[in-house]
Symmetry: C2
Subunit: 276 residues, 2 copies
């Protein structure tokens, strides 16, 4: 653990950004408009939490983080596609994203729809590239990621989130949104890193539970920061206590992994205490 | 060859429709709105040309068509997602599709965006399900299909098609649209069937060329029927002659496959002479 957490994060962001740059067609490739829109959205100032979690989970089971780099980038592509589509006027209608005009504000709605489609498609192409793992592991990773991104995961959460609420927000509905809309992709980032790092079955189960819990924490903290969702339902204090409890439970799962899981512990704590 | 072509097509459509029904979550699954929107668009009166081509290509190399059924359904899901997104107001703005209100007219724009996303995601989940093939073959199929559906394939064609044309339609631009927007997914349907049927390398190369040519034919016939694109540029007569020539070249590729490729020959001729 030679560097501080902030040095570690910068180094990992650089690693992920360089890899994303390699995995995406050049902005000059034909037809250039779509590649410019894709790159505008991906190569922004994102924190790269999901890919960094995947790399740290890979390390936590003794793998070389480069084994998980392609899949980590694919997950970031899926995250970015979901932001582009969520920002569309017919969904959340957000004009800004990460401090810049959102994709459709900059390139128009048609190209924003297609840029999201392009990223989702490209993510699976990258996931299917052989890179030293057994093909069977690749297929497992693809199935897990597709399930987490689909109607039983991220898309399902988004659907429930945009549905008009009849009557009061129920805790059950909010929990569905939190576990699915954001939690599923965070959780599968950890699982993916574990699978590609060669996790034993028991390590995989522990890291899966770790991922599910910090996925929930991530969304609860989002809600607290926005004064929304769980925070509105439970109040900021109880929501904060819930996030803290989940983080402790998550970190307990890492105990048998020892010092190799130290970065994952730090990331869990970072997710629980972030302020933006 | 016990049945007429029309009996064969009905039987294959039924096979594909039953499988699609199995591969898609029930309309009652939570959250129901997205599954209803997905099923509304997929379970329509589509001709299922792409999946039927995949099954026929599988048979043409001596495979059992059921070996290609999951992948054939995945390709139909990708085709359907592309129709849902192309119909959106910001793209082609089509109110009707296959004689019914388009997905966004029936379910609203937000659900239509998400239904397209859901189908694209689900297609890769289905493709990654092990079903008797080697994992390596699955990965090759996923890479081929993702490439054909992405910015160097279908999405690329769609991007160029919606770009404002400066000056005259050039033959080069139209050829790009035709080979990419529709041609790429038709071509990869044939390739997928061949791969999953266990094609030898030389068979695969021949079927790839067959698929590329009939993909082009498909789009030229579309243009002739719509009085659009190539038909407007070359005139209906020259466009028709080009389609006929490409069909002949395509069918010649099938010669070494003998009688097992008879259905593919019939499908090529059907694509070249269809009137709707």
């Amino acid at each position: 653990m030679p560097s501080t957490l902030s040095q570690y994060l910068s180094q990992r962001q650089r690693l992920v950004n360089e890899a994303l740059n390699r995995y995406l067609p050049k902005g000059s490739a034909y037809p250039p408009s779509i590649h410019r829109a894709v790159r505008y959205s991906v190569m922004s100032s994102g924190k790269r939490i999901r890919p960094i979690l995947a790399l740290a989970a890979c390390e936590a089971v003794g793998g070389d983080p480069r084994q998980a780099l392609a899949a980590a980038c694919a997950i970031e592509m899926i995250h970015t596609y979901s932001l582009i589509h969520d920002d569309l006027p017919s969904l959340d209608d957000d004009d800004y994203r990460r401090g810049r005009p959102s994709c459709h504000k900059r390139f128009g709605e048609a190209l924003a729809v297609l840029a999201g489609d392009a990223l989702l498609t490209r993510s699976f192409e990258v996931l299917a590239q052989a890179n030293g793992h057994s093909a069977a592991v690749h297929l497992t990773v693809i199935r897990e990621i597709a399930a987490a991104a689909g109607t039983n995961g991220m898309i399902g959460g988004q659907v429930v989130d945009i549905e008009p609420v009849r009557g009061r927000q129920t805790a059950q509905r909010l929990r569905y949104i939190n576990t699915h809309k954001t939690g599923a992709l965070i959780a599968v980032s950890v699982k993916t890193g574990a699978l590609l790092g060669g996790a034993a079955a028991s390590q995989y189960r522990r890291l899966s539970r770790f991922g599910e819990r910090i996925g929930l924490v991530f969304q609860i903290v989002d809600d607290v920061l926005d004064g929304d969702g769980v925070a509105r339902l439970l109040g900021v204090e109880r929501a904060g206590a819930q996030a803290q409890q989940l983080t402790q439970q998550a970190v307990l799962e890492l105990a048998p992994l020892g010092v190799r899981a130290e970065r994952l512990r730090q990331l869990a704590s970072l997710i629980a205490t972030r302020t933006a």
